[in-house]
């Protein structure tokens, strides 16, 4: 008896909630999981990265313009000598002797006139060297032996045409791109869900009118409207956001309406109606939670579209404006400097494309996980 009871307990399928099942399906979907990890990594990098790269996004290194992406520290050994000569020229001094050892440079500087020690500030000002220390000074003041530390600056993704660290800029730009992606999606989500659920719930003439309005809006060349809007009313971040959200809520409204129509006839909604709940209460308590699955999927797939639209507008110079920056802005800069510094296009485009692919894969994975019927047969 006992043995049989134990066997039954082991064999009985454990009841699992829909969300638990969905989570299980998602964790089995390796590409979706990889996409999720990638996205979290990109988001974390954008949030924390700019503090860790050692460069401020607006910091300009005039002597390090258009550096190629590399792991090596700048200035590189073979460029130290020319850099010293260049700086000495600016100081109007001659380099008599030059020795580099273990990250420090020892220089013997000479001039026909006594040397003003203040001109040594040219060295740290170039970003390539640290402050100079005077080791020796000749009696007439025309020769100076100084020692200075060679800086070790790293630009993993290189620098742009004015000498800013590209990695830091990409990460800072990512914040704006992701922020716009998420916020505009959220706005589109709220408007779309509200509109769709209300339309489906009211039914009848109201539904017909609301859907007709949607049809009219669908046929509008929205992107053109957004461009007009942004050109005529000076572009700014919030206007971009509202404009993008205004374009993208339509699909959401359709999806939610269809779901609502299907749910409306179900018993639990009828029961709520019989209990005298208001339409609003039924919508919030019963309809919207039940449409959450398709909404989550649609929202996940909406984020990449919003980011793409924002970068499209920014590329045209209509989106995010300097000094703020987004991936679209950086791509526009990069495509202008493509011949001399191809990495300036490659780096932000890489960030953008990886994020978009990850979002799309995650969206598809969520669709499979939340509604196995919708996924293609395997």
């Amino acid at each position: 008896m006992e043995q049989r009871g134990a066997m039954m307990a082991a064999a009985a399928p454990r009841a699992r909630s829909l969300s638990a099942l969905a989570r299980q399906r998602l964790t089995r979907n390796r590409p979706a999981l990889a996409a999720l990890v990638t996205l979290v990594a990109v988001a974390l990098a954008c949030l924390a990265g700019p503090f860790l790269t050692g460069h401020a996004p607006e910091r300009i290194y005039p002597d390090l313009v258009r550096m190629k992406p590399s792991l090596a520290a700048h200035p590189q050994p073979d460029t130290v000598r020319p850099a010293i000569e260049r700086i000495a020229f600016r100081m109007r001094l001659a380099v008599e002797d030059y020795a580099i050892s273990d990250g420090t440079v020892r220089l013997t500087l000479a001039s026909p006139k006594p040397i003003n020690e203040r001109s040594l500030s040219y060295l740290p000002r170039s970003d390539l060297f640290g402050p100079a220390r005077i080791l020796e000074r000749s009696a007439d003041g025309r020769r100076l032996v100084v020692e200075t530390r060679v800086q070790r600056l790293r630009f993993l993704l290189g620098t742009d045409v004015v000498g800013r660290d590209l990695l830091t800029r990409c990460l800072v730009a990512g914040r704006i791109s992701l922020l716009i992606g998420l916020t505009a999606t959220l706005v589109a989500l709220l408007v779309g869900v509200g509109y769709g659920a209300l339309s489906g719930m009211l039914g009848g003439v109201s539904d017909a009118i609301m859907m007709r309005v949607l049809d009219v809006l669908y046929a509008l060349p929205f992107v053109f409207f957004v461009i007009v809007l942004l050109v005529f009313f000076r572009a700014n971040l919030w206007l971009v956001l509202v404009a993008v959200a205004a374009v993208e809520w339509l699909d959401m409204a359709r999806i939610v309406r269809t779901q609502t129509l299907a749910l409306k006839g179900r018993d639990f909604v009828r029961a709520a109606q019989a209990l005298g709940l208001t339409t609003g209460a039924i919508l919030i308590r019963h309809i919207v939670p039940n449409t959450l699955g398709p909404i989550v999927v649609a929202a996940t797939l909406l984020v990449p579209r919003v980011i793409l639209l924002e970068s499209f507008l920014s590329f045209l110079g209509l989106g995010v404006q300097e000094p703020a920056t987004s991936w679209g802005v950086l791509i526009a800069e990069g495509s202008r400097a493509l011949e001399s510094a191809p990495w300036m296009l490659g780096a932000p485009a890489g960030f953008l494309v990886v994020s978009l692919i990850a979002l799309n894969v995650l969206g598809d994975g969520l669709a499979d996980a939340l509604d196995p019927r919708l996924s293609e047969p395997r």
Binding site: L220, V231, F232, F233, S311, F315, L316, A332, L338, E376
Partner: protein
């Protein structure tokens, strides 16, 4: 069918009305005017200019006049291209944009259908994975990244094709813009074809065909007929996307099409040019959606009854 088409066109009128009204008032409410120059014009000259273009009238009168002339097919004089009407500009720009769009659409359909079919028939194998990878890449890489890359590879490094310009529409100048415009749509069509075909291929009538030992190409033809429907129903949005994409492509490649005129017009506050473009694009979107629906009804007879 003809009645259905006419009814659909009638339904488009409110849409177009909203488009015209919204864009008209949106532009007029914005600060700045078409004759604002760096150095302001003398007041008298400004008055004269405004009178000639009818801008001295109350807004509602201007709106009424615009609607009236629009119904006669007159889009008005351009503000920034002096001595030219918007109709003149479109007569020049439309052939450029239409050539680009039509070629890109053809390429997207041909390549997309072929790749999607290949992926569906080689399901789970290398070809399928490659198409899937290519498609997600094609959807994620924006045209304004593809365009400069193509320019630098084929235009500057290899020197095979010109990096820009129209040159009377010579095929050499068309290759890169069309490719840029078509790539994301190729990806979209391929993905859609693949998933639609996968569904159709699992159906009994296809299994029957296979069991009867029909050669693969006949199975493919039969299956494609069923899978075509979802592809056709996206043709409207695809055409709209091509029109939008042409704004970027025409700007990057320096082509004198509608998209370029639109951007220039917006920057110059050329009210009539911007209005004209918006109306034109709206009409095209409506027409393409209608064509897509009619085509869908031809492919799937069940839709004719519902229409």
């Amino acid at each position: 069918m003809i009645g259905y088409a006419l009814r659909r066109l009638l339904q488009a009128i409110p849409t177009l009305f909203v488009v015209v009204t919204l864009s008209f008032f949106l532009m007029r409410l914005a600060p700045g005017g078409p004759f604002d120059l760096e150095r302001p014009l003398p007041a008298a000259a400004m008055e004269n200019l405004k009178r000639i273009y009818g801008l001295d009238q109350p807004l509602i009168v201007q709106y009424g006049r615009y609607l009236l002339s629009l119904m006669q097919g007159d889009l008005g004089p351009s503000f920034s291209f002096r001595d030219l009407t918007v109709n003149d500009l479109f007569a020049r720009g439309l052939p450029v944009s239409a050539t680009l769009g039509a070629l890109a659409l053809a390429l997207a359909l041909a390549l997309g259908l072929a790749l999607g079919t290949l992926a569906a028939f080689r399901r789970g194998r290398l070809a399928d994975r490659l198409v899937g990878l290519g498609a997600s890449l094609g959807l994620a890489v924006p045209t304004f990244v593809t365009a400069p890359l193509l320019q630098i590879v084929f235009g500057l490094s290899l020197g095979w094709l010109p990096v820009g310009g129209w040159d009377g529409g010579s095929p050499r100048n068309l290759v890169l813009p069309v490719l840029t415009l078509a790539l994301p749509q190729v990806a979209a069509v391929a993905r859609l074809t693949r998933s639609a075909l996968n569904e159709v291929l699992a159906q009994p009538h296809i299994r029957t065909l296979r069991a009867m030992g029909q050669p693969p190409y006949r199975v493919a033809l039969q299956a494609l007929r069923g899978a075509l429907l979802p592809v056709i129903s996206t043709l409207g949005p695809v055409a709209a996307a091509l029109l939008t994409g042409s704004v970027v492509v025409e700007t990057i490649f320096g082509l004198p099409g509608i998209g370029r005129y639109f951007v220039d017009g917006a920057l110059n506050r050329d009210y009539t040019l911007v209005m004209g473009t918006v109306v034109l694009v709206a009409v095209m979107v409506v027409v393409f959606n209608l064509l897509a629906d009619l085509l869908a009804a031809i492919v799937d007879p069940r839709l004719r009854l519902g229409a």
